[in-house]
């Protein structure tokens, strides 16, 4: 009888799992948390050295230790902001944007520790603290970004039910065409409600409504509330049924817009504040050396 190899997996399941493509893993767990581990080590080294190194009279950004942390922090800020270039520059070579994103996330979190220790907790109303505060704002918006990137894609996928944006809008247009002809036999006031619903731009309600999903001024809902059910009138029944379909289709599109807005909105803080941070950081470095 042939002997089994020593390292034979316990069952096919484990064997198959071992063969699976190790690339199918999210950016947060890239290479078994490689960048999370590196960032943790960097933070621990920074905190431990802060406690162990004796700077007189007290820790500050101008000591040799403060300059070291400041250089590391500035280098991290410049490197972290280069993700925007890396993402858009489709050059050849064995790089992966997932690895960059993973490093960006964890080193960005470690930057809070490095930069805060660099300040020596000497904060005030000046350009130096401005740079620190902007850095914090960028990291906080980034933390929101990580949270929504980790949770919302599944909801977006479930909501779109295999439809593309274009298909959703086409479905709405098809309902609108049917509704327009179905409303012809209605009485004047009821027909006006349908016309008003059809003429309203159903998506232009401002940012707050888009984010909350609370479309109170939607005239499709008003038309549904005001046109009374009439079992004896098939025209009214048809219009009500189409209005319900329209409301459902609008809800799907609006939910999609809401989720997409939540997924993207933090970038409108993260990116411009990063540019402001780079400017403040330049001012901070120049002023420090100018007044040496």
């Amino acid at each position: 009888m042939a002997s089994l190899p020593e390292d034979r997996p316990e069952n096919r399941f484990a064997h198959d799992e071992a063969r699976r493509d190790s690339d199918h893993v999210s950016f947060l767990k890239h290479r078994r948390w490689r960048w999370a581990k590196i960032a943790t080590v960097l933070s621990i080294v920074a905190i431990a050295s802060y406690l162990l190194v004796d700077v007189t009279p007290r820790h500050n950004g101008g000591s040799w230790y403060g300059y070291t942390l400041g250089t590391v922090g500035a280098a991290l800020i410049v490197w972290l902001s280069l993700l925007g270039i890396r993402k858009r520059n489709m050059s050849e070579g064995r790089w992966s944007l997932k690895a960059w994103t993973s490093a960006h996330v964890y080193l960005g979190l470690a930057l809070v520790v490095v930069a805060t220790l660099h300040t020596g907790f000497q904060l005030g109303w000046n350009v130096h603290t401005l740079a620190w505060a902007l850095m914090l704002l960028v990291v906080i918006s980034g933390i929101y970004g990580i949270a929504v990137y980790a949770t919302l894609p599944k909801e977006i996928s479930s909501n779109r039910r295999q439809m593309t944006k274009h298909e959703m809008l086409e479905a709405l247009a098809a309902i609108d065409r049917q509704l327009e002809s179905a409303a012809q036999p209605l009485a004047r006031d009821e027909a006006d409600l349908v016309i008003a619903a059809l003429e309203q731009d159903p998506f232009d309600f401002g940012l707050w409504t888009r984010l909350t999903g609370n479309y109170r001024r939607c005239w499709t809902g008003d038309a549904l509330a005001e046109i009374e059910e009439d079992d004896s009138d098939p025209a009214v029944q048809k219009v009500l049924s189409l209005l319900r379909k329209r409301r459902a289709q609008l809800e799907q599109i609006r939910r999609q817009m809401r989720l997409r807005a939540m997924l993207d909105i933090w970038l409108y803080v993260h990116v411009p504040v990063t540019i402001a941070l780079l400017a403040a950081l330049t001012a901070h470095i120049i002023s420090v050396f100018y007044y040496w």
């Binding site: 493509d21 950016f27 944007l97 894609p153 295999q162 593309t164």
Partner: protein
């Protein structure tokens, strides 16, 4: 024993959404086969639990291939959050090859099915492809480089330029030709769509992994 426990835990976790874990696998497998994976030799899949819809895969595809994307991320079928975008499967017996007058469609050394420059733009391959992954278009003019766009707003920016920009700047004599995914053959580093995905949602899968790819690695770790 540990492996057995993992299987049991997996079955327990999934029994509410499927009759059994076997059902989930077989249904996911059936979905993949229905979408042409059965005859594929390499396919792009998108894990929709990770995809943030940034379309960087499409932009990277366009920027790696004459400014035209060969993939439509959003279109295509999905099942259990696994999405098969409109992109070439590099079929074992390619339907597109069947009726190409200049015999311009060939298979490369890495299994990629590609269209060479002898294409006459007849559109037969586009009509024959059951998965709708071949498009007919003229190669657009070169865009200003990334830094001109980033610093001065010159040109249309990364990714495929808008139809309007392409028409405005294109050479009207340039004929339409068939274009499709060539698995980034000859491009160092491999498929641009996968390299450019910031979250790890885009994966390329070979036949030996088709049926085990349905789960995220972290689910079994």
């Amino acid at each position: 024993m540990k492996g057995r426990r993992e299987v049991n835990a997996f079955v327990e976790a999934r029994k509410e959404s499927f009759g059994s874990a076997a059902d989930m696998y077989s249904e996911t497998a059936a979905f993949l086969v229905d979408n042409g994976i059965g005859e594929a030799t390499d396919v792009l899949l998108i894990d929709e639990t990770l995809c943030v819809g940034c379309d960087n895969c499409e932009k990277a595809c366009a920027d790696s291939h004459d400014g035209l994307s060969r993939l439509d991320r959003e279109a295509g079928r999905s099942y259990a959050h696994l999405h098969v975008p409109t992109s070439c499967r590099h079929c074992e017996h390619p339907h597109c090859m069947a009726d190409c007058p200049p015999n311009a469609i060939k298979r490369g050394p890495d299994g990629e099915v590609f269209i060479d420059e002898t294409c006459i733009g007849c559109g037969n391959c586009q009509r024959n492809c059951p998965y709708g992954v071949i498009r007919m278009d003229a190669v657009p003019p070169k865009k200003p480089n990334l830094f001109s766009w980033l610093l001065f707003g010159a040109g249309p920016g990364p990714g495929e330029a808008s139809f309007g920009w392409r028409k405005k700047h294109a050479d009207p004599e340039r004929p339409k030709q068939a274009i499709k995914c060539d698995m980034c053959a000859g491009i160092k580093g491999g498929p641009a769509c996968v390299r450019a995905c910031p979250t790890g949602a885009a994966i390329r899968v070979a036949p030996d992994k088709f049926l085990t790819v349905t789960k995220l690695t972290e689910e079994v770790e």
